[in-house]
């Protein structure tokens, strides 16, 4: 019902104007509700002036809504839909992420450890061979100088691989944390 009273219409359009920060649907519902309030109150025999006065100015009323709805938004309790979405996200993460994670972790860990360890051994063997302390049972196919150069390269490769593993685990933790529900405050 249109109120058709210019005073009421002016009040409502001012209110609507002041509620511009609310979501459009919310804003429409609020204005309709106040429109109904004015209609109900005047139908109950109250003069329009006093009805509008009791509501406070349109600006004050709009501020009341802003304080309740915008300034201190409480975290809405998670709805069923949100829970379903979170469950799907988590399931998707496990399905898509578990096999690659297994491969990546196994490859990076074994490459990291073996390169790092063998690099150290090769480097040490190169040093020993160059000073002639290498036991006779150990046979080296390359010149000691190559072993001394190659050793640090292997160590560096291994270290790089281990660093990549650490980075990947951190990345994974971030993703999982985003999908899992926020801890209760």
């Amino acid at each position: 019902m249109s109120l058709e009273h210019p005073l009421a219409e002016r009040y409502l359009s001012r209110l609507d104007e002041q509620l511009k920060d609310l979501a459009p649907a919310e804003r429409r519902e609020v204005v309709d509700e106040i429109r109904n309030h004015i209609a109900d109150a005047t139908r109950a025999g109250k003069p329009l002036d006093s009805v509008l006065q009791a509501l406070g100015s349109a600006d004050e009323l709009a501020r009341g809504y802003a304080v309740e709805l915008l300034l201190h938004p409480r975290a809405p309790s998670s709805t069923g839909k949100q829970r379903t979405e979170r469950f799907l996200a988590l399931t998707g993460l496990v399905v898509v992420g578990s096999i690659p994670t297994l491969v990546i972790v196994v490859v990076l860990a074994s490459v990291g450890v073996s390169f790092f360890g063998s690099g150290l051994v090769v480097f040490a063997a190169g040093i020993l061979a160059s000073v002639g302390w290498l036991p006779n049972e150990v046979r080296m196919d390359v010149a000691p100088i190559w072993a001394i150069l190659l050793g640090p390269l292997l160590v560096a490769g291994g270290a790089l691989s281990l660093a990549a593993l650490v980075w990947y685990v951190r990345f994974l933790a971030r993703v999982v944390r985003r999908v899992l529900p926020a801890p209760a405050r």
Partner: protein, 116 residues
Amino acid sequence: MSSRDLGEWTSQLRRGVLELCILQVLRQGASYGYEIVTTLDALGPLAAGENTVYPLLRRLKVDGVLETFMQDSPAGPPRQYYRLTAAGRQRLSALEKEWSAMVKAVDRCMQKGGAS
């Protein structure tokens, strides 16, 4: 205490209690804005005025404590009705407990203050 301070004190006190009373009013069944406002009005100084009740109703809806539905009214356009959700009923009983504990504590506090 200046009257301005007193006004602020009562308005803060009222706002918290108002939520409890709105939920209590809706425990009897669904209701719409004007009816809720007039019911609260009839209870006396509690009525913080429409400009507190209406925004709080929206807030309680956003919080999932209340839900709305439209229903035809005998005269005029369909009205938006409010009713308690399951979460709202839980909140109501939690607030009731909180309130009666508070009242007891304040009573004791006043008696102690009066006795000394």
